[in-house]
């Protein structure tokens, strides 16, 4: 009898303990990289990011992925060159992973540690501040990741023998839906 109760208990409780408490889904996103060159200031924009957050025991694990080729600078030649120097065909996704306390969702600003995989390399960015705004059931976050080309061993492209700056900040705007 005890064995049966134990089996029934395990069947009921295991999926509960193993399952997520809540989920976050990326509803909308705008990621903008900024490239500086003595003759150009260029921006490339992507709305192609996909993301999901899984919360468990007060901690939320987030994964965001964006195809490298989804960035549009308004110049197809530049976009193809960007795809080449970042090895975007070989490594087609930029992925960002982070863990945030569930309670942070109600803060005005959160500082998060990011693990970014890009161009076959992994870089970590610590305590990146993001502004948080809650509108109804959706949470809007905005911030800038101070990406450097050297973090990912990308050789800075050059035009007229002048290379672009190593700093390529990526501004992030995201709207998340909590479920």
């Amino acid at each position: 009898m005890n064995k049966r109760i134990l089996i029934a208990f395990l069947f009921v409780t295991f999926p509960i303990f193993a399952g997520a408490d809540s989920l976050w889904f990326l509803r909308e996103s705008t990621l903008t990289y900024h490239v500086s060159h003595p003759l150009h200031q260029t921006e490339g924009v992507s709305h192609g990011a996909k993301g999901k957050g899984v919360c468990h025991a007060g901690q939320c694990d987030f994964l965001i992925a964006v195809p490298v080729k989804s960035f549009d600078s308004g110049d197809s030649n530049r976009d193809l060159h960007m795809l080449q120097v970042t090895r975007g065909a070989e490594f087609p996704l930029v992925t960002v992973r982070t863990r945030v306390p569930e309670s942070a969702a109600v803060s005005a600003t959160i500082n998060v540690d990011l693990e970014v995989q890009f161009a076959g390399q992994t870089a970590q960015y610590k305590q990146i501040p993001f502004k948080v705004e809650i509108h109804g059931g959706e949470t809007h976050i905005a911030g800038t990741i101070p990406v450097k080309l050297s973090d990912f061993k990308i050789e800075p492209p050059s035009l007229l023998t002048m290379a672009v700056k190593n700093e390529v900040p990526v501004h992030v705007e995201m709207t998340w839906h909590h479920q």
Partner: protein, 217 residues
């Protein structure tokens, strides 16, 4: 009985966690983990761990086609960039004899011109033409990336080629005709008299093509 069911429960409950630990497609074991700024490799205090069920790429609805790298496409992009870099470099080099040819043209025409100044102009024009066609070769032969729509300043850059391309063929032909007429002591006449205007239009289109991809308007 319990020993049989327990592993089943574990598999059901933690299967996503096991799946999440499988390296994501498009990544490789040669990836380097670095900390920007410090250059040290240390674990983050709130970095994701595999103790819960962190989301994976498949959770995002990405297909294997979207996540897997394509070495063939990368090789195509590498070849394209390599050829266009040469195109860019050769184009810049070509502007030097092109400008010199235009300057030398001022002493090549008119009534009181010497044979030497005409020869210099013709020689510079010849060098310009050779370099121009080498430049054009690298642009024409650079591989196209399928499914790419041409957008931005590169459209103007390519459109200019329809002017300076024929111009670079026509200008030396007209120049040779003008040179012959001048060498015979004749006044440049007929279609050869178009050498100057055609050359100016060609040089202007070439300059506009260079500027269109160099300076943001």
């Amino acid at each position: 009985m319990l020993s049989l069911i327990f592993p089943v429960c574990l598999c059901v409950g933690f299967a996503p966690a096991l799946i999440a630990q499988i390296p994501a497609p498009g990544t490789s074991s040669s990836m380097v983990t670095g900390t920007p700024g410090s250059g040290q490799q240390d674990s983050l205090p709130n970095a994701p761990s595999s103790s819960t069920n962190p989301p994976s790429l498949t959770d995002l609805g990405l297909t294997p086609e979207q996540t897997q790298g394509n070495a063939k496409e990368q090789a195509l992009l590498d070849k394209r960039t390599h050829m266009l870099k040469i195109h860019q470099r050769m184009g810049l080099i070509t502007t030097v004899p092109l400008i010199a040819t235009v300057i030398a043209s001022m002493g090549a025409g008119g009534k009181d011109t010497s044979t030497a100044s005409r020869d210099l102009h013709a020689a510079l024009g010849g060098v310009t033409g050779d370099l121009y066609f080498i430049t054009a070769y690298y642009a024409i032969r650079a591989p196209r990336v399928p499914g790419t729509e041409t957008r931005g300043p590169i459209r103007f850059h390519k459109a200019m080629a329809w002017i300076h391309g024929p111009g670079m063929i026509l200008t030396p032909i007209l120049g040779i005709m003008a040179f012959d007429q001048k060498s015979k002591g004749e006044k440049v006449h007929g279609i050869a008299s178009a050498h100057g205007p055609v050359a100016i239009i060609t040089a202007g289109a070439f300059g506009a093509a260079v500027l269109s991809v160099s300076v943001k308007f």
